[in-house]
């Protein structure tokens, strides 16, 4: 390796080899589908929004996000920290600051441009749609360049980097959306976006230069007294070791979900003002708001599921955590409690802010009107219970999203975690087209008829897993007999309660009762949660 450029390139290749191979394989498949299948004139109907999203947009957006993380070195650093995320080791390399700044930008930009060209060439179905060639590529490059600049910059306050990223990248996105909305010409968009790239380079170079000189502004002193508000004095004792561990988990992982929900909500709620008198739009926004916490929880779960106390260490367990004099079940219980608290705080944010936004924007009249219709149709008691059921389901889904992958994450086996992520992505990518194929081929009726059989098979699989897990919990003494019995009783009671409520609310004689019971059994989590102590034990005592 004779040059800094080659060394940088080699390091990116070595570090992200498998990720890049995955991306290239996907691009080849996408290309093959378009070049071979479509060129032969075999019709492929991928013109619905869902299919296009699942086959093209979701994988390519995930790839773009991966590129952003890889080429900013964001996979290593702490986004909320004050110090630059540019790796310290690289800052000491005997190369110029221009090279340190420029080469990651060049490689990242090249990757983004290739990604866009592949999407433009192979991902647009049908091919006749007018999609510009140049400015979307410039948009992708400028987003990457600004992300690099803003992540490499040292900040005077913790968390400021996240705010800067959200505001600035949101502004660039807004420009693009406005361009699309007003059908701006290609040259106008190029004129707006092209200067972003050298500007971002100048800012990034300044950031790397400051990081290299160890300069980091500090505005924390004026905020020090504020930080002490709510700071628990060392004199106050925890009630128990379990309470101390729950506090540890809350401080480590619990605040991310409410914080992200609080950041995203204003962007969604501002749409109430844009919705005007459109009832359907208001309800669409409400649905989007309701699914925001479970959606964000899916990502927050990645951090919750780690057994380590260090953010960067995604697998394995640190000796500090592993040597806490707590049982494996108590360590897992602390995570579950933290997830409950995190979920409740996130939902308090939603439940307080949404009515205010509805009232303030005037959209509340549309919501009240909609509610009146539901009440008239179902009756007041059923409408109230159904609404509460939906709310509880959303809250429960948020909590479930946070904790359902514990049984994978706590194993600390990086290969297992990655394989599960790929399987999940694969499932979601295939599910949309598969469902659409069923709908298009007129087989929905057959699937509906087969639902009892499908649900029965799923329940049988769940029960087999539960028995297997229960045996291991008992044999390894990971959970006490009383806890096992109490857990089973609580689960049974919850399932029966849900069954009763569903049976009463649905009030549909054509839906068999056993089907409702099967649904209730499948909805209440058991197997994966119960497996979490086994996963942690295998990691903690290797």
């Amino acid at each position: 390796m004779r040059s800094a450029a080659a060394a940088f390139g080699w390091e990116f290749h070595a570090r992200h080899r498998w990720g890049m191979i995955g991306v290239v394989v996907y691009m080849i498949v996408l290309g093959a589908v378009k070049l071979v299948v479509i060129a032969r004139g075999i019709p492929i109907y991928l013109d619905s929004g869902e299919s296009f999203a699942f086959v093209v947009m979701v994988p390519l957006t995930a790839t773009a996000t991966y590129f952003l993380a890889a080429f900013t070195f964001g996979l290593d650093g702490d986004l909320a920290a004050r110090q630059s995320m540019y790796p310290l080791r690289r800052l000491t390399l005997p190369v110029t600051t221009n090279a340190l700044t420029g080469w990651p930008m060049v490689y990242g930009s090249a990757a983004m441009i290739v990604l866009w060209l592949v999407l433009r060439t192979f991902g647009i179905w049908p091919a006749g749609v007018e999609v510009p060639w140049i400015w979307p590529a410039l948009l992708a490059v400028s987003l990457l360049a600004w992300t690099q600049a803003l992540t490499w910059m040292p900040y005077p306050l913790p968390g400021l980097r996240i705010i800067a990223l959200v505001i600035w990248l949101g502004t660039i996105d807004m420009i693009a959306l406005l361009g699309l909305h007003f059908k701006a010409g290609e040259w106008l968009m190029i004129g707006i976006l092209a200067p972003q790239i050298p500007l971002a380079y100048i800012v990034a170079r300044f950031a790397v230069s400051r990081a290299r000189q160890g300069e980091m502004p500090n505005w924390r002193h004026p905020f020090a007294s504020l930080a002490q508000v709510g700071h628990v004095s060392s004199g106050r004792r925890f009630r128990s070791p379990a309470a101390a561990q729950a506090w540890f988990e809350w401080r480590r992982h619990g605040r991310a979900l409410p914080a992200w929900v609080a950041i995203l909500l204003p962007y969604e709620m501002v749409l109430f003002w844009a919705a005007g008198d459109s009832k359907s739009l208001v309800f669409t926004i409400l649905i989007a708001i309701l699914i925001t916490p479970p959606f964000v929880a899916t990502f927050a779960a990645a951090a919750v599921s780690t057994s380590s106390s260090n953010a960067g260490d995604s697998s394995g367990t640190t000796a500090f955590v592993a040597t806490r004099p707590l049982t494996d079940a108590e360590l897992v219980a602390a995570k579950l409690k933290m997830a409950i608290r995190s979920t409740l705080v996130a939902w308090v944010v939603v439940l307080v802010s949404v009515p205010i936004a509805l009232e303030w924007s005037g959209a509340s009249t549309l919501v009240i009107d909609g509610w009146d219709r539901v009440r008239d149709f179902m009756g007041i008691s059923r409408a109230v219970v159904l609404s509460l059921l939906i709310l509880i389901a959303c809250i429960a889904a948020t909590w479930t999203q946070l904790v359902q992958s514990l049984y994978i994450g706590l194993t600390g086996r990086a290969s297992l975690i990655k394989a599960t992520v790929f399987l999940a992505i694969g499932f979601f990518v295939l599910f949309g087209p598969f469902f659409e194929w069923i709908a298009d081929s007129g087989r929905l009726g057959e699937v509906w008829s087969a639902l009892p059989l499908i649900f029965s098979a799923l329940v049988a699989a769940k029960m087999i897993a539960v028995v297997w897990i229960g045996q291991r919990l008992f044999q390894r003494r990971l959970v006490s007999d009383i806890a096992l019995f109490t857990g089973a009783a609580a689960w049974s009671l919850t399932v029966l309660s849900l069954y009763g409520v569903l049976e009463w609310v649905l009030d549909a004689p054509h839906i068999p009762r056993y089907l409702i019971m099967l649904v209730a059994i499948l909805l209440i989590p058991l197997a994966r949660l119960s497996a979490a102590p086994i996963a942690l034990a295998s990691n903690r005592h290797r």
Partner: protein, 251 residues
């Protein structure tokens, strides 16, 4: 467990990581009230042995008993009586010193607030300082504080002095001395800085490539290696022993 029973009892412990043998038929008995030095080159198996004592590794063959208990089956019973300081010093960087003290205190009913405060002051640790802002030496001191403040029955130190300046190393040795000042308490510490081991250990076990090559009271080892009235240092004995072991392995 009786007062005379060993604190740590390891029998025929073997551990393999894939094809590499980290520990080979290790048998060890650490009596109550002793200062036990575990010495060996980097990668000899010291940390692997300590991780078995803490229950962080499950014995593949053989057995490990600490206070008569299996540390894997009963982590609470074992870990609540152990003070542990690791070479990695992986204390959570986001905690303030006072938060770490408050958090650690919750796990140990015998936590001595006065003693903790005395240690904090003598180590000059700011209560409001975040752990991640501390120097390596200060982090080691915080680690000593939370390992000592509940006066554990067993203090386990894994390469505690590695990369630290002489003043912090003195504090660590002081911690060992403080611990043994309390009757019946036991110290197991691993190090490749043999002069430190010589200063405080009363029993030394040398480990090389996962095998115990020598295990005896320090005074006995010195006496056994005396040549023409010259008592060799532990460094010299170690080099001689490990050299012999390597030669035996080759032959």
């Amino acid at each position: 467990m009786t007062q005379t029973a060993p604190v740590i009892e390891i029998a025929n412990l073997t551990r393999r990581f894939d094809s590499r043998t980290a520990l080979e038929a290790v048998t060890l008995s650490i009596p109550r009230g002793s200062v036990y030095g575990l010495v060996g080159a980097n990668g000899a198996g010291k940390t692997t042995l300590i991780r078995h004592v803490l229950g962080l590794l499950r014995a593949q063959s053989g057995s490990v008993r600490v206070f008569g208990l299996d540390p894997v089956a009963d982590p609470v019973g074992v870990l609540s009586r152990i003070g542990y300081l690791s070479e990695e010093n992986d204390l959570p960087g986001w905690m303030r010193v006072e938060e770490l003290i408050r958090y650690s205190r919750a796990f140990h009913p015998a936590w001595d607030d006065d003693y903790a405060e005395e240690l904090r002051k003598s180590f000059a640790l700011e209560p409001g300082a975040k752990v991640k802002t501390l120097s390596k030496g200060q982090k080691a001191r915080v680690g000593i504080l939370i390992a000592l403040a509940y006066r554990p029955d067993l203090l386990v130190l894994d390469e505690p002095s590695s990369g630290l300046d002489p003043i912090v190393r003195r504090d660590i040795l002081g911690a060992i001395i403080r611990t043994i000042a309390h009757e019946g308490r036991t110290v197991l510490f691993s190090s490749h800085l043999l002069e430190e081991v010589e200063q405080v250990a009363d029993h030394v076990t040398m480990i090389n490539k996962g095998r115990i090559v020598l295990s005896a009271p320090l005074a006995e080892i010195r006496e056994a290696h005396r040549v023409d009235g010259h008592v060799p240092s532990l460094d010299e004995i170690f080099i001689a022993r490990v050299g012999m072991s390597a030669a035996a392995a080759e032959s």
